[in-house]
């Protein structure tokens, strides 16, 4: 569904992990953009109704692109730059509060 505007510009490729699968990304990508290019589908489900959500505003406002990044829940994928080896998972509903949450 999404493709890069200018394929000629290719900074160094890096690898991120989404739900345990390796994905190719480019340095400087926002995490949201990197996942959208790979048709990652729903990024999260809402805490109240469980409805699926994907990035909407892509500028840090709507919080619909929340994912778990390196074990930290509810991170805004559109506000985070990809980093080699980053471990990303979908955010299922609300975050836990307890230490083991």
């Amino acid at each position: 569904m999404f493709r890069r505007i200018d394929d000629a510009v290719r900074p160094a490729g890096i690898t991120i992990w989404f739900e345990g699968q390796s994905l190719h990304a480019q340095a400087g990508d926002s995490l949201a953009a990197a996942l959208l290019i790979h048709d990652a589908g729903a990024f999260r489900t809402t805490p109240v109704s469980g409805a699926p959500r994907a990035p909407y505003c892509l500028m840090g406002v709507c919080f619909d692109c929340l994912v778990e990044v390196d074990g930290v829940p509810n991170r805004q994928a559109c506000m985070i730059e990809v980093r080699d080896g980053m471990q990303v998972r979908r955010q299922h509903g609300p975050a836990g509060v307890a230490d083991d949450g």
């Binding site: 805490p47 919080f63 509810n74 509903g93 609300p94 975050a95 836990g96 509060v97 307890a98 949450g101």
Partner: protein
């Protein structure tokens, strides 16, 4: 002269005004509710949503039983609101805690509860002082800093924004005419009729209720009432939504049904400034973290400031004007807790004319300095 005629006009569309308008409509009156709009200070949209009994009462004798009465009316009131409007308001009444972080606080709290027991007399004031081990039974997540606290089984909570929506919806179902964007510019009383001007409009009624929060002070002057209310700022922090973790509310940390955690209970005299400060939000967060260390896992997504409608003794001020009988001013900072009593007891007393006798103890004349 012209103008739209009603049985009653309520000025103020917050929790207090909406509850009274609903109660007046229940009593069969045609009611118009004038709400100012987005520029209003709107304590109803910034509060913590506790339906709270413990700690309230002093120094006004009638206040503790009035609070308890509203608390007792709340379960049926909540059922009614949701039943009539379909709006869930997330009301619960399973008790609530006040937690203390040092011995001095705990002793002061215990003394307050003892005085309230004494004031309540044979009716009782069912609030218990608990040590840390007692507390851990119900609140396993408390931190080592918590030395004890108090528990009252009548305490509860509600979603205050949903409550406001439900009050508006229920009122309109019962015939209340809700008019937003109506700042009241002028009130004229002649005989038993009041003319309320808002811009080019004039609304007329033979009963007038001021429920405009801090604006009751300037509006009261039109009907010969000195309404002694002043702003007290509270700041609130709200976290991202989290899994259910805190079943029962405390005075300064509660979890909403939909998962977000509210942190609050600051008290500042800063005039009409509704802003937030790093110093106070930092203090609130620090206290909350010492109380519940696991909160460190959650991010704060928003903060806000709102102004409590404070009276000189912190208790409600209810008055009917001597100069203009039929004109009332209702002021309090507990619009959530007292909503059920305002709709079910206070409004009917306005409708049937018994207000002055029933609420004599709540008059603002208690603050007059006697000059003998």
């Amino acid at each position: 002269m012209g103008g739209t005629a009603h049985d009653a006009i309520v000025v103020g569309g917050g929790l207090v005004g909406s509850a009274i308008a609903l109660g007046l409509a229940d009593a069969g009156l045609s009611v118009t509710l004038l709400d100012e709009g987005d520029v209003a200070l709107r304590a109803s949209r910034g509060n913590f949503g506790l339906v709270w009994v413990q700690g309230k009462g002093l120094p006004l004798d009638g206040y503790a039983p009035w609070t308890r009465r509203s608390s007792d009316l709340w379960p049926d009131f909540a059922d009614r609101l949701t039943g009539e409007t379909g709006r869930e308001i997330d009301y619960q009444r399973q008790g609530g805690f006040h937690l203390c972080l040092n011995e001095e606080e705990l002793q002061a709290r215990a003394l307050l509860i003892k005085r309230l027991h004494n004031q309540a007399g044979p009716d009782g004031y069912d609030c218990r002082v608990l040590d840390r081990d007692d507390l851990r039974q119900s609140l396993p997540g408390i931190g080592d800093a918590v030395v004890g606290g108090t528990f009252c089984p009548y305490d509860g909570c509600v979603n205050p924004l949903a409550l406001l929506q439900a009050l508006h919806a229920a009122g309109q179902k019962c015939g209340v005419t809700y008019l937003p964007g109506r700042r009241v510019d002028r009130i004229e009383g002649s005989g038993t009729c009041f003319a309320v001007r808002s811009g080019a409009e004039i609304h007329r009624a033979d009963r007038l209720v001021l429920a405009a929060g801090l604006a009751n002070r300037p509006l009261g002057a039109w009907i010969g009432l000195d309404v002694p209310v002043s702003p007290e700022r509270g700041q609130v922090l709200v976290t991202e939504r989290a899994q259910p973790w805190l079943d029962l509310p405390t005075t300064y940390v509660r979890q909403m049904k939909e998962g977000s955690v509210l942190l609050g209970d600051s008290h500042e005299d800063v005039g009409f400034d509704t802003g937030t400060t790093v110093a106070v939000t930092g203090d609130i967060a620090t206290r909350a973290l010492r109380t519940f260390p696991a909160l460190a896992h959650l991010r704060v997504v928003r903060t806000w400031g709102a102004l409590r409608v404070m009276t000189p003794d912190g208790c409600p001020v209810y008055d009917e004007s001597d100069a203009h009988p039929g004109a009332y001013a209702v002021s309090c900072h507990s619009g959530v807790t007292l909503a059920a009593a305002h709709a079910n007891v206070l409004a009917p007393a306005i409708a049937d004319g018994s207000f002055r006798n029933i609420f004599a103890g709540f008059t603002g004349r208690r603050f007059d300095v006697s000059a003998h």
